[in-house]
């Protein structure tokens, strides 16, 4: 008796390695993936693109068995699969290399490559043969690494390549590379790409995720764009240009984006000393030296894609991370902002993009969270008097419309938008002269978004300096008077937000080719 199945599937599509159809995954209150189709073919490098929250990681986690899918089907080589866990996905031939490398750094390169596939002789493992075989595998990928050298003696880039070569040993059909290049320099990226091309020649499908668009265009054959959990489209790399790609990721046609209204551009008095002046401030590996000025009543927008260095810049200005070059002046006076306390002393406030990890104190109440920055500034000995606490709470609960209007609720039980308002209130209560907001509207609903934008505009009108970071360009345009554009960890432009500036001109600045 013969099994015809293989042949039947082969007729359907000869090349398809993985076919995901109608994949939906919901988390309570959020539809993370909404009926997404995704196809990976033999010997292609396929990039998965989208901004934060688009559903990239959820899709990858569905494919690697981390999340169970709610509906839809996953076929690997024509066979319907249901992944209950990561081991299922691995046995189906799907290998993943993450940013943080999951190898044993205390073992040798060869031992790592061959782990679980060691060559056995009559007396147990034949280490000589094992290392020889590891060497063969490595050479096939063009890697000339001594297999007996300890893994920890190699750079991160080499370790990553070793992790990838493991994929060859386990004979994977699909290799997932999630942000593999984020910590590599240019020559290391070249080396990685060379290995990727060799794997491609061996008919391995590669799923590549990177927020460096240059690299995406250089290495990919095809790209799939996700937005808000939905499939935006699949494109051959030659069929789409950079600006179109960015507008697809952001979800609006360029012309349409330009029509969005914005706050009237106000004239900013730049005659006096700026609230904050930054000269050559930088940190190796995260942001190249930058000059910036923010004046009273001015909103300076930082535009750039994820990973462009916008968050890194905000963090070193605030002193959350230490700068290793440059200097800072507050109102014309040289200042030393190397810790949050020093910044708070200069009345500079910073709200992180990561609300949960770096914003809220989850198990404390709304009231305690709200008063935290004022309290921290006074030191532990001088507790903010109850009456003053109450007046701060009353004022901001109402002013920002925090719901539920219950200062004794635990903050972790509030919605994202309300948590964000509490965090803003936390800083506003310290009456800062400069407010740095990193993605203050991420992950909150439209209504709360508009409220936060209005609040920022109002604060600036009242004279506060604001640095406003957002991946939504129309939002940046709506609130900012000046916009600094960042790309690949550098400031590449700074423009006045005049009437002729639109999202398309920002996209052009962000997308400009030939950066490196």
């Amino acid at each position: 008796m013969t099994l015809p199945s293989r042949k039947i599937y082969a007729v359907v599509d000869n090349n398809v390695v993985v076919e995901m159809k109608g994949i939906s995954i919901s988390f309570p209150g959020v539809k993370a993936l909404d009926s997404v189709d995704f196809t990976l073919r033999e010997g292609e490098i396929h990039s998965l693109l989208g901004e934060n929250g688009a559903g990239k990681s959820t899709l990858i986690k569905a494919l690697t068995g981390v999340y169970a899918i709610d509906s839809g089907s996953i076929q690997v080589l024509g066979v319907e699969r249901r992944f209950a866990n990561t081991a299922d996905a691995q046995s189906a031939g799907i290998a993943t290399v993450y940013q943080e490398i999951n190898l044993c750094s205390n073992l040798s390169v060869g031992e790592n490559v061959m782990l679980g596939h060691e060559v056995r002789g009559p007396f147990g493992i034949d280490w000589k043969a094992t290392h020889a075989k590891a060497s063969t595998y490595l050479n096939e990928l063009g890697l000339h690494i001594e297999p007996r050298s300890p893994l920890s003696s190699h750079s991160l880039a080499i370790q990553q390549l070793v992790a990838i070569s493991r994929a060859v040993v386990v004979d994977c059909r699909l290799l997932i590379l999630d942000e593999p290049t984020s910590s590599l320099d240019r020559s290391e990226v070249e080396q990685l790409f060379a290995v990727m091309r060799r794997l491609k020649d061996r008919n391995v499908a590669i799923l590549f995720v990177s927020h460096f668009l240059d690299q995406v265009f250089e290495i990919s054959d095809r790209m799939t764009i996700l937005r808000n959990g939905q499939l935006e489209g699949e494109y051959l790399v030659g069929a789409i240009n950079r600006s179109t790609l960015i507008s697809k990721m952001l979800g609006r046609e360029l012309a349409e984006l330009d029509l969005i209204g914005r706050a009237a551009t106000r004239a900013i008095d730049r005659s006096g000393a700026p609230v904050l002046k930054v000269l050559g401030l930088g940190r190796k590996g995260s942001i190249e030296p930058v000059d910036l000025e923010v004046y009273d009543g001015e909103v300076l927008g930082l535009a750039g894609l994820l990973g462009s260095g916008r968050t890194e810049l905000a963090r070193i200005i605030y002193g959350a991370d230490r700068a290793d070059s440059g200097r800072v002046e507050v109102r014309g006076v040289p200042a030393h902002l190397s810790s949050p306390q020093q910044s708070a002393h200069h009345r500079i406030a910073f709200s992180s993009e990561d609300r949960r990890e770096e914003g809220i104190i989850g198990d404390l109440t709304v009231a305690e969270n709200l008063v935290l920055a004022v309290q921290a500034k006074r030191g532990w000995l001088q507790k903010v008097p109850r009456a003053q606490q109450q007046s701060i709470i009353d004022e901001y609960m109402v002013a920002l419309g925090i719901k539920p209007n219950n200062p004794n609720a635990l903050i972790r039980n509030l919605s994202g938008g309300n948590q964000q308002k509490v965090l803003l209130a936390r800083w506003l209560a310290t009456s800062p002269q400069l407010l740095i907001l990193d993605e203050p509207t991420r992950g909150i609903d439209i209504g709360a978004k508009a409220e936060v934008q209005q609040l920022v505009a109002r604060l600036a009108e009242d004279g506060m300096g604001v640095i406003f970071i957002s991946s939504e360009l129309d939002e940046v345009l709506r609130v900012s008077q000046r916009i600094a554009v960042l790309r690949d960890h550098r400031k590449v432009a700074e423009i006045d937000n005049a009437a002729d500036v639109g999202v398309s001109s920002l996209v052009e600045l962000i997308a400009k080719e030939g950066a490196a």
Partner: protein
Amino acid sequence: MTRIFKHRLIWPIAALVALIVLNSISRPSFLSITITRGQLYGSLIDILRDSAPLMLVALGMALVIATRGIDLSVGAQMAISGSVALTIIADSKTPNSLGTVVVAILAGVAITLVFGLWNGFLVAVVGIQPIIATLVLMLAGRGIALLITGGFITTITSTPYAVLSQGHVLGFPVAFLVSAIAIAIVTVLVRRTALGVLTEAVGINPSASRLAGVRSRGIVWSLYGLSGLLAGMAGILYSSNIMAADANNAGINIELDAILAVVLGGTSLAGGKFTLAGTVIGVFIIQTLTSTITFLGVPPAVTPVFKAVVVIIVCLSQSQRMRGWISGLRPPKRLVVTTPNETPIATNRTTA
């Protein structure tokens, strides 16, 4: 009624009451308190008195645990302070003068404050894991105490010093009063100032606290100092009880009892929210347990096993899942949090 059952101290209190009931059934005299020459006597009073060293240590431990830390060196620090105080008294020409005793106590407590700050330095400034940082002093501390006493068990006769463990004031044992004052001072220190809430903030979310401008380093540092200071006082009480500085046995394993008391009281070892009232109850549970074991005639060799059983029962009674099983053998509920006008957000699965 349901509100009472939801109070977070209900289970520790229930455990304590159960232990007391058990004791009073098996020996009716357990609850009786007699007054002899204006002084209170009885099993309950003994428990109050004997719990004093553990109480002091546990108060400090609760605060250190709230910062996501732990202090394993408290037992060794007890040995150090006892050695210092008794060496000073033994070397003094006037061991019975109040002045000598006060100087000795202050010296003993001061030196453990310094050692506590050393622990805090290792944890908060150098960034060593608390368990390792304090393990250093846990191991070295008894050696230091032995160096101070010259390798001997220093014994003294000093009436004022003996008062600490044997005397009574206002009818109550002095040791108990010392621990009561410590409870009061620490409570005022953490709740009347912002120390408590800032400590909780640091313990719950260190990076968010840092970005909010909280001087977490200073807070963590000083709490280890406070823990050292309280352990030092505990060492004084212990040495006063036996009138000897026994470097090898003073406060032996007390760090474990203190951690236990903190946990029994309902403070999570993961740090963050802490409860001093719960810790106090936890200490009484452990002390009552010790006295129960002695009374029931459990052989000393199996005492730890008996203790372990009780601890497991108390911990199980506090476990959410276990409570779910007990009340109708329902499967544990999914953690769902809601705010009035919102859809439920489950916390056991998060969006990427």
